[in-house]
């Protein structure tokens, strides 16, 4: 019994295919883990530092978060306004 198990294990190891196939697309589309898992990490860490690091106070952390969100909104809001002006003038 023991020998047959060992033999099976050895056979399994020696008969492994030389090239193993790994397709990240089968796990999840690359953007999901790349952008939200890896690229997002520095941003998550910064926010974690604000709210859980030391020294900290909630008022300053909230202020920082509001400033952050205001810039996101004004960046895309400003871009939207610019593109609408272009639409009015040219299309």
């Amino acid at each position: 019994m023991m020998f047959s198990l060992t033999g099976a294990a050895v056979r399994a190891l020696t008969e492994l295919p030389i090239a193993a196939k790994f397709d990240p697309w089968e796990v999840a589309p690359p953007g999901v883990w790349l952008i939200f898992g890896i690229v997002g990490l520095p941003v998550y860490i910064a926010f974690l530092g604000w709210f859980a690091g030391s020294p900290r106070n909630l008022k300053s952390s909230v202020l920082g978060s509001v400033v952050f969100l205001t810039f996101v909104t004004s960046l895309w809001g400003g871009l939207f306004a610019l593109t609408m002006v272009i639409r009015l003038l040219f299309y």
């Binding site: 589309p29 953007g31 941003v43 860490i45």
Partner: protein, 441 residues
């Protein structure tokens, strides 16, 4: 080096006085920007086809050209700033504190120009937001363009937040020296400010610096921007993992060059040779040398791999690159830049601010040329010679050439406006020399 003491009064001087040169530079930049806006209007009126980029029947099949090359170039310039500033905070490189805010502002200005290039290069820019935003949950899963937009947004917002938080300290303390007509703006910036927050905000900015120093070099210019090209299997000129470090080295080269030009120009304009000292400019020039060396070294890697025993398609694009006058200009110029920096490293007397500015301008010209050529040749020499029957070679149209001058002018105007509103040198950089009575607390 000057023995003058730097005071807070020095750093608010641009907000209080306006020289003749300020008006002259402002007028020239406005005219250049307006000329380009008129040309862009023409392009909007008649379509992207006026540049030749929308037409595969000409220009050897090139549909991305100077616009995309300049986009990469501006994102690269944007790096210097915030990375330099983050390095000051994270690694205690206090020597460069006087250029930290200038560098942050360069990031904001340059990144805005890069964003503008996305708008300019879109066939129907009016549909940009309304098509990108609603489809984002799907496109982000697979599209490097959606990744690119995500990371540029994060980079811009992190930098702007960083700047806004550090300004609170300075604006509060310098309020009585800043112009009254911007009072409402200063009130918004310092909303809820108390001196007790200083240490906490300083730490928050440290966390931001930590995030930015990873995000910007490794994941933006060494990540999503090269992936726009290197993930496409049919363009051998674009392919390969080396594009990450290559893009980053070029970005850092142009970024430090941009900071040197700005620092030297402001030093001249406002007699800041005691703040932006020879020591600072020479140190920045040495950094420019290091990044230029990396740029050249990575080019060598690509060339040797492209000529020794290349696959047919990779050999074709490398051969085309090596004989292209634009490439010869770019690499020759970088060798010249490196020679000067080596000479001033060996013999300090060779250094002058004017020479450092000259080599910085040359480095910027070289990085722009290399990036545009990279984009163009990648398209012109695809695998299987896909566009061999497409006549002609790409040459930038007047619309594209004017856009480079126009965006440089717009960025200049942005800086000139900021000079009138905020101190562009951090108060911390002059505080150690300050007499207490100079600052109102």
């Amino acid at each position: 080096m000057s023995s003058k003491k730097a005071t807070p009064r020095d750093i608010v001087r641009p907000t209080q006085s306006t020289s003749k040169w300020y008006y002259i530079v402002g007028a020239v930049a406005t005219v250049v920007a307006l000329v380009w806006v008129v040309l862009w209007g023409w392009q909007l009126e008649h379509g992207l086809v006026v540049t030749g980029l929308a037409d595969w029947g000409s220009g050897g099949g090139v549909t991305w050209g100077l616009y995309i090359g300049a986009f990469i170039w501006w994102v690269g310039i944007a790096h210097g700033g915030i990375i330099l500033s983050a390095a000051v905070r994270l690694f205690g490189m206090d020597r460069y504190l006087p250029v930290a805010r200038l560098a942050e502002l360069l990031t904001i200005g340059a990144l805005s120009m890069a964003g503008l290039y996305i708008v300019i290069h879109t066939g129907r820019p009016d549909r940009l937001v309304t098509s990108v935003v609603p489809s984002y949950p799907w496109t982000v899963q697979t599209s490097p363009l959606a990744w690119d937009i995500t990371v540029i947004t994060l980079y811009f917002v992190l930098t702007a937040t960083y700047l806004a938080l550090t300004l609170r300290y300075d604006v509060h303390r310098l309020r009585d020296k800043l112009p009254d007509h911007f009072g409402p703006l200063y009130s918004v910036i310092t909303i809820g400010y108390s001196e007790r927050e200083d240490k906490i905000i300083e730490r928050m900015v440290w966390w931001l610096a930590l995030g930015i120093i990873v995000l910007a070099p490794l994941l933006l210019h060494g990540g999503v921007i090269p992936w726009l090209f290197s993930l496409l299997p049919s363009m051998p000129g674009w392919q390969g993992a080396i594009q990450g470090p290559q893009f980053l080295s070029i970005a850092l080269t142009s970024a430090i060059a941009g900071v040197i030009i700005m620092a030297a120009t402001l030093r001249r304009a406002y007699d800041w040779d005691h703040i932006l000292t020879d020591d600072v400019l020479r140190g920045l020039t040495m950094w420019l040398g290091l990044f230029s060396l990396l740029f050249i070294w990575l080019q060598l890697q690509q060339v040797i791999n492209g000529v020794y025993a290349p696959a047919v398609d990779a050999g074709t694009v490398t051969a085309a690159k090596l004989v292209n006058p634009v490439y010869i200009f770019a690499i020759g110029t970088m060798v010249l830049v490196l020679s000067y920096i080596f000479a001033q490293a060996v013999r300090a007397s060779v250094f002058t601010p004017a020479r450092s500015v000259t080599v910085s301008l040359l480095a910027l010209a070289a990085t722009l040329s290399e990036k545009v050529l990279f984009v163009v040749e990648g398209l012109e020499y695809p695998t299987f010679s896909l566009y061999e029957a497409v006549p002609g070679h790409y040459f930038p149209s007047i619309f594209e050439l004017a856009s480079v001058a126009g965006t440089v002018a717009l960025c200049t105007l942005f800086f000139m406006a900021v000079l009138k509103v905020f101190p562009v040198i951090e108060l911390h950089a002059v505080e150690e020399h300050d007499d207490d009575e100079e600052v109102s607390t």
